[in-house]
């Protein structure tokens, strides 16, 4: 693939070029619609066309192949692979996961095979799929991120990078970059310079004002944003008075976080013009449609893959069914939230 074109500040959806009105985050289909249009759910983000707007979230889908026996991978919009670092990482000591009401805590610690082995062992399979391959990239320093990207640049079949500056479970790096807008800007700019493919940036929800970080990433060259990573939380065994997770704190995911994530997607979508990929507790088509209405142009399914691997496919089918039922194009759904006249929305205005 040729070096990605200068990042587009908008997403386009299937046949219709999509234009986002910067002030309202609204979307209109520019092309005239045929009288009885077949709703299309394909979406193009930073020049990468996804056959539907549903991706699997990093860390919940391995390297894709693990699910080949269970679901039809060719029906996914995209696969975000487990976070890859320049060098292999062992991960955290157990216990690493704990189930909470409607959610789960994890502190895996980004155990992964490293960039070189990913290219040799995992990428050849991913290349054969219709689903787009988004490689989640992680590092402990800006140099780490750049080194990882430079190694991955050699790979054929990678469609985009997703910069993980929001992992709550590693001591240095990760969330450190996601908690300081200056550092966010620095690592995004350096990664963008190094990247041969479009760069998505996955932001942390553990910040006071998401708009500041969304803009920092956009201003530094991010082609799209993924919102959000897990919320930092913890659980304690009351009998033994010990943490349930060896890392003490862990990232909370699952349906429990959906309202929190939705609010952040809504606010970020009003702060930036680059496309947003919404993620956080999506387990049904309705969940995903809420994210699209809030301003995301695509979604990721995460924790649900663990207990119901057919979720991303059901979500994609459900979005298509919704568009057909409402006689609309996916593009008309994105950012279509109807706010009350009184302007009760506390969203950060650009």
């Amino acid at each position: 693939m040729a070096k990605a074109a200068k990042h587009s500040r908008q997403s386009s959806v299937a046949s219709g070029e999509l234009k986002r009105a910067p002030d309202l985050g609204q979307v209109t289909a520019a092309e005239p619609r045929t009288p009885n249009p077949e709703p299309r759910v394909a979406v193009t983000i930073a020049g990468v066309r996804f056959q539907n707007p549903v991706l699997t979230a990093s860390g919940t889908f391995g390297y894709g192949q693990e699910f080949a026996q269970v679901i039809d991978l060719d029906r996914l919009g995209g696969i975000c692979v487990k976070g890859i670092s320049a060098d292999p990482m062992p991960g955290n000591p157990p216990p690493r996961i704990y189930e909470t009401d409607s959610g789960m805590l994890n502190a895996i610690g980004l155990q992964n095979v490293g960039a070189k082995r990913f290219l040799e062992e995992k990428l050849p399979f991913l290349r054969t799929l219709k689903a787009r391959c988004v490689v989640n990239v992680f590092g402990y320093s800006t140099e780490d991120y750049v080194r990882c990207i430079e190694t991955l640049n050699e790979g054929e079949g990678i469609d985009a990078y997703e910069l993980n500056i929001s992992c709550p479970n590693t001591r240095c790096g990760g969330i450190v970059y996601g908690s300081d807008p200056k550092l966010t800007g620095e690592v995004v700019a350096a990664s963008k310079r190094a990247a041969r493919f479009p760069l998505f940036v996955k932001l942390s929800p553990n910040v006071t004002d998401i708009a500041v970080f969304a803009r920092a990433a956009e201003d530094s060259g991010a082609d799209a944003l993924t919102l959000v990573n897990t919320f930092v939380g913890m659980a304690i065994d009351a009998e033994t008075r010990t943490p349930r997770i060896s890392n003490v704190t862990a990232g909370l995911s699952g349906p429990a976080i959906k309202p929190l994530a939705l609010r952040l997607v809504h606010q970020a979508s009003r702060a930036v013009q680059i496309p947003i990929i919404g993620i956080g507790g999506i387990a049904s088509p309705e969940d995903a449609i809420e994210f699209l209405i809030a301003g995301a142009c695509a979604v990721q399914v995460g924790t649900a893959n663990f207990y119901a691997p057919d979720t991303p496919i059901r979500v994609a089918e459900g979005i298509e069914e919704y568009c057909r039922r409402h006689c609309i194009h996916l593009s008309q759904l994105v950012g279509s939230l109807k706010l009350p006249e009184s302007g009760a929305a506390p969203a950060q205005e650009v």
Partner: protein, 285 residues
């Protein structure tokens, strides 16, 4: 491995809060190998998200004989009510449905394990509490190939020693232990195991163990001391059982990226010397 929605045909209560859940699933029953496990998903409870890992206790023909199909039809799961998930499982009734991802993991007789078992003069099953659930199918398979077997089975009380009757046809002897002495030896099951290993130090034995971490650790220490080989079936919290969440990883011999292996994929059965004991203890389930 197959992901299916299957009907419950029975959910039989035993002593001490134990139950045997029986589901009809011929394809999964016929694919199951001794020591493999399944993930059970409770449907319709959005607050209990994750599937529960359960040893495949038994794979058997349908008892009612109404299906008219030969071969294995039913999978049994022996479990104890310990938390919200198992409490909901206990409420399942015949006709209800559960999600079942099965069979999973390497069983006891993958690759070199079976050859090792056949070469042994005697196989010792060492079970702690609900750990017995992983050992019934291996015992049956070994009995079919004429291997001499013994069962060492420990629990907190008599009520925890479920499934002894089912084991009887396959073992020459059953040694029981309870912590408070209500049945068998008083104390841990590793005490009579130690006597036996000491008395039969010249025999070539193979130990198959499943139970709480502390019992496994003590069993493995004994095996090492008396120079016997030991296979352990490990238990851990699991997110996906497909090998992607990396939540069930345990510490094994190896450095760097090779320091952890997944119970769901590389396990649940490991050679005892491959596991790093002490230190990072998996949680109680």
């Amino acid at each position: 491995m197959l992901d299916a929605i299957v009907p419950v045909i029975e959910n039989r209560p035993l002593t001490g809060g134990h139950f045997v859940l029986s589901v009809r699933s011929p394809r999964q029953a016929q694919a199951a190998r001794p020591g493999q496990f399944a993930m059970i998903r409770l449907l319709g409870h959005s607050d209990v998200l994750l599937r529960r890992p359960m040893s495949i206790y038994d794979a058997r023909p349908a008892a009612d004989g109404t299906t008219g199909h030969p071969g294995l039809q039913v999978l049994d799961f022996l479990y104890k009510v310990v938390g919200r998930g198992t409490a909901l499982m206990a409420a399942l009734k015949p006709g209800d449905q559960v999600g079942l991802l099965a069979p999973l993991g390497h069983g006891f007789f993958a690759e070199d394990y079976l050859a090792e078992a056949r070469a042994a003069e005697e196989v010792l099953h060492v079970a702690g509490g609900i750990g017995i659930a992983a050992l019934l199918l291996p015992a049956r398979e070994l009995a079919a190939s004429g291997v001499q077997q013994k069962l060492f089975f420990g629990g907190r009380t008599q009520a925890d020693l479920v499934g002894v009757y089912e084991f009887k046809p396959y073992v020459a002897e059953t040694v029981l232990a309870t912590e408070e002495g209500s049945l068998g030896h008083r104390g841990y099951v590793t005490a009579p195991l130690k006597f036996y290993l000491e008395a039969h130090a010249s025999k070539r034995l193979l130990i198959l163990a499943c139970g709480p971490w502390a019992m496994l650790e003590a069993t493995v220490a004994l095996a090492r001391r008396y120079g016997q080989r030991c296979l352990v079936s490990m238990e851990n919290r699991m997110g996906c059982a497909l090998g992607v969440c990396l939540g069930c990883s345990i510490r094994v011999e190896g450095e760097g990226h090779a320091a952890y292996e997944r119970v769901c994929t590389e396990g649940p059965v490991f050679w005892s010397e491959h596991v790093v004991w002490g230190g990072d203890m998996p949680p109680k389930t």
